[in-house]
Structure formats: structure tokens, C-alpha cells
Amino acid sequence: MLRFIIRRLIITIPTILVVITITWGLIRLAPGNFYTGDKALPEAIEQNIREKYGLDRPWHEQYLRTMGQILRLDFGTSLRYEGKSVNEIIARSLPVSATVGILAYLLALIVGITVGSIAALKQNSKWDYASMTLAMLGISIPNFVLGPILVLFFSLTLYWLPPSRWDGFPSKSVILPVITLSAIYMAYIARLTRAGMLEVLRSDYIRTARSKGLSETQVVIRHALRGGLLPVVSYTGPALAFLLTGTVVVESLFVLPGLGKYFIQASLNRDEPLILGIVAFISMTLLTMNLLVDIAYGYLDPRIRQ
């Protein structure tokens, strides 16, 4: 097991370098620069800036310098937020994204698995049809539509919840972003759970469990859940990575000072160090989550443990 983890961690490093290289290339390919604005800068000033940030050097020199920094986990300072290091910005905005993300994740898991299991156990009943219709809606409605609808209803009509504000956790201000963010994950988990449970409930070993004289509850909890939830596990790992690192749309909608908001700002500002820093961080989180899923799989399914 330990060897497996170490081997996987070693593969992680080249993967992240490839991701960063591609991101770096894309930034360079896009026209314009972080200092370009509406008005053209005088030639001398532009020359100064280019020298200061090393943009006058050959591209491979710039690339190697950036990569060298990143390998030392030094992402440099932001070009727009003067004097703020990239690490500082991530450290300050991550807690906001992670709070909303973890809450959304828990909500999606609890509701999704419960609804999915009920739908599977009562297949083709009105419960099944109702919950799967809701799940279909949850998957089809994009969060930039769902968010404003919720705001319109709960904030601007009923005046129950703040429309866009961040008061930290716990406070009323987390409710709408969490629901908006978790809706699609909830719907997806419900569908995965239903499909997984249906497949397991039809399997031979469940028939064996029933023939032993176990009650339906015992059959489901002891025998069916574990196999039925395996597809959910492989989905929720990467999902958690995306939820933790913030989502651009929901954070913009509710004006949350999270990582996603900084990411989109950085992209608009052509803030290269900040973009690379956030991309590196997100890919690291994603790869870690995938690794955790694989480890969890080993524990859940004895057949692939070895």
C-alpha cells in the first residue's frame, strides 16, 4: 500500500508540470499583456516593464525561470495585487471556497445518497419518478440560472436570506451559495446511487442474502450499500477537489472572496503568476483527491487490495 502511494505521488509531479506548461503556453499565446490597457504605453515605459519582468529574454529562458520557481513552490508575487504573494492570496481565499465547498459536498452526499437509495429500493414507484425528475432538473439547470432564481425568491421576494454577502461560517449568508453549488452534485450523486444500487440489488449475492432470512433493511445496509456506492466514491473524489477550490460562477454570483473569484480576476488581468499558482494548486488538490479515492477503493473493495 505504502509503495503504491509513493509511486502515485511520484507520478503526480510530472503531471502537474505538464498542466502548468500548457497553462503557461496558453497565457503566452493569447494576445496582449498584463500592462496593456485602452491607451498604448509610451515605448520607453513598455521597454522598462518588459525588462523588469524579464519579458525581453528569450522565451525558453522565461519558461525555465518560471518552472524553477514553481518547483521550489515559490509562485512569486501577483502582478496586479501589488506586493501580495500568490501564496498569500491563496491562503486567504481558500478558507472561503473550502467552507462553501465542504458544506455543499456534505449536503450533496447526504441528500444524493438518501434520495438515490430510496429511488432504487422503490424502483418505478412515484418516489422513484419524482426524485429522478428532480435529479434530471438538477443536472440540466446550470447554476448561473439556479442561483439568480433562488436569490429572486428567497432574498428579493421573501427577504429571508441575504442575496450576496459573505459573513463567514456559520451565518445565513452561506445558505444560498451552498444550495446553488451543491444542486448539480446532489442530482448526479442521486442518479449514480440509484444506478449502482439497482445493479447490486439484482445481483446474485443479494438473492443469497435474502435467502438467508435477513430483513430487507439488513440486506440493504449490510450487503447492498457497499457495492452500490462504489461508483459514487469514484465520482466524489474529483468532485470534492473542484468544490474545495472554489467555483467561478457561484463565487461571482454571490460575491464571495474565494479562490474562484481570484482565478477569474487573474485571468482577466493576465496576472500570470497568480494564474499559474492557482492552476498548480487546483491540479494538486485534484490529483490528491484521485489518490485518496484509489486508496478508499482499496479499502472498500477487497478484490483490488492486494
Partner: protein, 345 residues
């Protein structure tokens, strides 16, 4: 305990239908038979003949919907299982009637240790403590001939071979000393050499514990040496039923004749193997008349028009055929000819 007539199980006019989009499938349609205490009953038939559904109906494990036990009685030890409450049936399942299924590769829970799967039985039905149940699990594995039972009891199903898994299934089924063991094609999915071992094991354990057995198979060769009575099923109906010896010697039904002729005979000079022509019928759309008529070489006009009667051709020997008595008489004649020749040799 006894019902007075020595029957452990009496199935009467059992009908199990499946309501599908394609129409109602009468998987089991009016099945009646008795099983005496300590006896082994064989049920043979092609796939789709309703033999498995019959036995799943006995312990009410038919998935509903789409399945439904439409009518009938399943009197087990004097009580009709079909009329019991769900929790009463659960106390019979596993405790008094245990089942072994066809595919040992998929019938055990792959995520659970063998020990837990075995312990579940005795903890549930006999109220054993963890330690007692564990000791009992090891003992059961030893009884069914698993080497190093003490170490292997903590393994997972994928660490066992097919034959060993079927032994585990048997150990599990017998852990509460059931009065009836239903073995649904217990050896079909296994290698031929392992098949013989598993059947031999069931036979031995049956003799030691005295439990009654229903053995479902599509292989007449398997049931010959193991059963006291035989039922031949086709299209959800019992076509012939007789003591095993009698059924093999003097079959009273053209379908049974066909099945018996299909058993490969290594001493036969001819290289070709007999087979019944055609395919089993689609039980959702059965034609009027005898369901076997289109494939039967004895069929006459009446067969495709009228449903055949169940004829008692001899004591304890019934056959579902318009010409049951003729077929039986022919078998008797052939059989005595064979016996005369055997005596002359």
C-alpha cells in the same frame, strides 16, 4: 412436527407469473408435487422451464413486480408458506429451508469476509454470540472439506476457487441444520471433476444430517444416482413425475424420452448425439394445446388443439400427454425386451 403423512413439503397448483411488457409469462403454471421427509427430489428441465422459479416461489423470493405468485399452496411442515407474514417467512428462510445457487462466483458477497457471511446465519437464527458463531463457521468449513479452514475463514470470496466457493455456499446453507435444502444447479457452473465432488459432498451431507433435498438441474445424468423421485418440467408445467428408477426405465412421456435419448452414451457406436429438434417455446405466447407438440415426434392433430391431461400411468407415476398410456406401454415393452436380452447374455 409431522403432518401425519410423512410429507415435509406439499406444493399444490402453484402458479407464478411475470407481468412483462411482452405479456404475462406463466413461468410456473399449476405445479403440484410432494416431498417426503428425508427424500431427495430431482427437478429437471431445459432453461426457462420454470424449475428455478418454482423453488424461489417456495421460499417466496420472487421479485415483485414483475413477478407474482398468483395462486397455490406451499405447505411446509403443515403450514402454508404463501399465507405467512413476511417476518414468519424470514424465520423459515435459511433456518429451515436453505438454498444453494448455481453460480458460486457471484453468489457470495465479494465485499465481505467468508467468516462474516457464515456467522450471519447462526447469529440471526440461532442467537449465537460472535465467538460461538465464529467457531461454528470454522467447523462448517471443515465439514465441507475446506483445507486450512481456520486460516481461510477470514479470507474473501475472490481468494477461493469456484469449487471452494460452492463448498462455502454449502457450509453456509447447512449451518442452521435446515430441514430442506434446495440446490439450484449446484454444479452446473463448475469443472466436470469438481462437479462430481460437489454432488458427492451434497449426497454425503444429506445422508449424515437427514435433511430433505430438492436438486434442480438440466442434466439427467446428475440426478440419476442422487434422487428418489424425479419431476420433468417443460414450459412451466410438470410433464412427468415418477420415482427415479421407474422414470429412467419406463418413461411415459415423449419429452422425457427425448431427454433420455439426449444423454451422451460413450459406448454407443454411432458418433452423432441425439437432440430434441426446435427450441423451448416462448412462455409469454404459448400456443393452445400441448406446449411440446411442435417439437414432439409423437404429436398428432389433437396435440396442437387440446391441452393434454395428466394421466396416472402407474402408481406414483404421472405423465402429461394425450398418449401417455401408449408411450408408457411402449417403454414397458422395450424395457422388458432389454431385460430379457440382458438375462440371455
Amino acid at each position: 412436527m409431522s403432518t401425519g403423512n410423512g410429507n415435509l413439503l406439499e406444493v399444490r397448483d402453484l402458479r407464478t407469473y411475470f407481468h412483462t411488457e411482452d405479456g404475462t409469462v406463466k413461468a410456473v403454471d399449476g405445479v403440484t408435487f410432494n416431498l417426503r421427509r428425508g427424500e431427495t427430489l430431482g427437478i429437471v428441465g431445459e432453461s426457462g422451464s420454470g424449475k428455478s422459479v418454482t423453488n424461489l416461489s417456495i421460499i417466496r423470493l420472487i421479485q415483485s413486480p414483475p413477478g407474482q405468485i398468483v395462486s397455490g399452496e406451499v405447505v411446509f411442515d403443515g403450514r402454508d408458506i404463501l399465507r405467512l407474514r413476511e417476518d414468519e417467512v424470514r424465520r423459515i428462510r435459511g433456518r429451515r429451508i436453505a438454498m444453494i445457487f448455481q453460480d458460486p462466483m457471484t453468489s457470495l458477497n465479494p465485499f465481505m469476509k467468508i467468516s462474516r457471511q457464515l456467522m450471519e446465519m447462526t447469529r440471526l437464527h440461532l442467537g449465537y454470540s460472535k465467538a460461538q458463531a465464529y467457531a461454528h463457521a470454522v467447523k462448517m468449513l471443515e465439514i465441507v472439506g475446506i483445507p486450512d479452514a481456520r486460516e481461510r475463514v477470514d479470507g474473501y470470496p475472490h481468494e477461493f476457487s469456484g469449487g471452494m466457493r460452492q463448498r462455502v455456499m454449502i457450509a453456509m446453507a447447512l449451518s442452521c441444520e435446515p430441514e430442506l435444502l434446495i440446490a439450484d444447479e449446484p454444479a452446473t457452473a463448475l469443472d466436470v471433476t469438481i462437479q462430481a465432488q460437489i454432488l458427492e459432498l451434497i449426497k454425503t451431507l444429506k445422508q449424515e444430517t437427514g435433511t430433505s433435498v430438492i436438486l434442480i438441474t438440466h442434466d439427467l445424468g446428475v440426478v440419476a444416482g442422487m434422487t428418489d423421485h424425479l419431476i420433468v418440467m417443460y414450459a412451466g408445467k410438470i410433464f412427468e413425475q415418477a420415482p427415479t428408477r421407474e422414470l429412467f426405465a419406463v418413461p411415459g412421456n415423449p419429452y422425457t424420452n427425448g431427454l433420455l435419448r439426449s444423454i451422451p452414451d460413450p459406448t454407443s457406436a454411432r458418433g452423432t448425439l441425439y437432440q430434441i429438434s426446435g427450441l423451448p417455446p416462448d412462455v409469454a405466447h404459448l400456443p393452445p394445446g400441448c406446449p411440446f407438440a411442435p417439437r414432439c415426434d409423437r404429436a398428432e392433430e389433437i396435440c396442437s388443439k387440446e391441452f393434454p391431461p395428466l394421466v396416472e400411468v402407474n402408481q406414483d407415476h404421472h405423465s402429461l400427454c394425450h398418449f401417455a398410456l401408449e408411450v408408457y406401454a411402449k417403454s414397458v415393452a422395450e424395457n422388458s425386451a432389454v431385460e430379457r436380452r440382458a438375462r440371455q447374455d
